[in-house]
């Protein structure tokens, strides 16, 4: 039940082993996000992630706690990177362990949907067309809103 903010690549296998430990529970769900080689309009060669460390740690810790209480998680872990990232590198990793698949899947989805809009990270894309800050997406805001309206649960 912890958060890590790091500049180095995420060791997904090691994170999984650590998350599951000796007692996997009945359901383990993980999500890994990678840097895409394109945005909506441009080719992307590199991504820079700026963050607000103190607030990011607090928001992600509170989010993990919320998901744990809502879905009765046995364990959870959120790892988010910052700094300069190349295409195909890991950006984010979320793991949730529960007694049943529904809870583990929903917890992972709640954490990712909320993290996209509520955790203080900002992406700056670099590519042949130059550099630009990534704008927030309406689809991300809509996915986040489903958890507040009760549409997703």
């Amino acid at each position: 039940m912890s958060v890590a903010l790091q500049s180095e690549a995420i060791d997904v296998a090691a994170e999984y082993t650590q998350l599951v430990g000796d007692r996997p529970g009945a359901a383990v769900v993980t999500f890994t996000g990678y840097v895409r080689d394109h945005s909506d309009q441009h080719a992307v060669t590199e991504l820079e992630l700026e963050h607000y460390p103190e607030m990011a740690r607090k928001v992600l810790s509170d989010l993990g706690q919320l998901a744990a209480e809502r879905f009765g998680l046995r364990n959870w872990r959120i790892v988010h990177r910052f700094g300069l990232l190349a295409v195909s590198e890991t950006i984010v990793w979320v793991g949730a362990v529960a007694d049943h698949r529904g809870e583990a899947i929903s917890a992972c989805e709640l954490i990712m949907d909320t993290l996209k809009t509520d955790a203080p990270f900002w992406k700056r894309e670099q590519g042949p067309a130059g550099e630009q800050w990534v704008a927030s997406r309406d689809s991300d805001i809509a996915r986040r809103a489903r958890w507040q309206s009760g549409e997703a649960q």
């Binding site: 928001v59 809009t117 900002w122 927030s136």
Partner: protein, 94 residues
Amino acid sequence: MASGSVSITIKLFSALREALGESEFELAISDISQASAQLDVAAIKALLSQRGAAWKEALNQPNLVHALNHKVVFTDAVVSEGDELAFFPPMTGG
């Protein structure tokens, strides 16, 4: 009602940091009159907007996010001595 002098930390991130050329500074607000309204986020925004056109434009974007002591707040949140107030565009993590 605020009175005396208040010192807070201002932090700016992402496009706002870039546009204004500052990432963090201490803001000492003196001469807060007894008669003035409560010192809230809106008052700080108004104060910083006096620094010039770039500040006014950046701090009055409709989608600007304000975080007081690491929590997103509305502009009516009251600011106190020692607080940390951050301004930034919508977040795009994950």
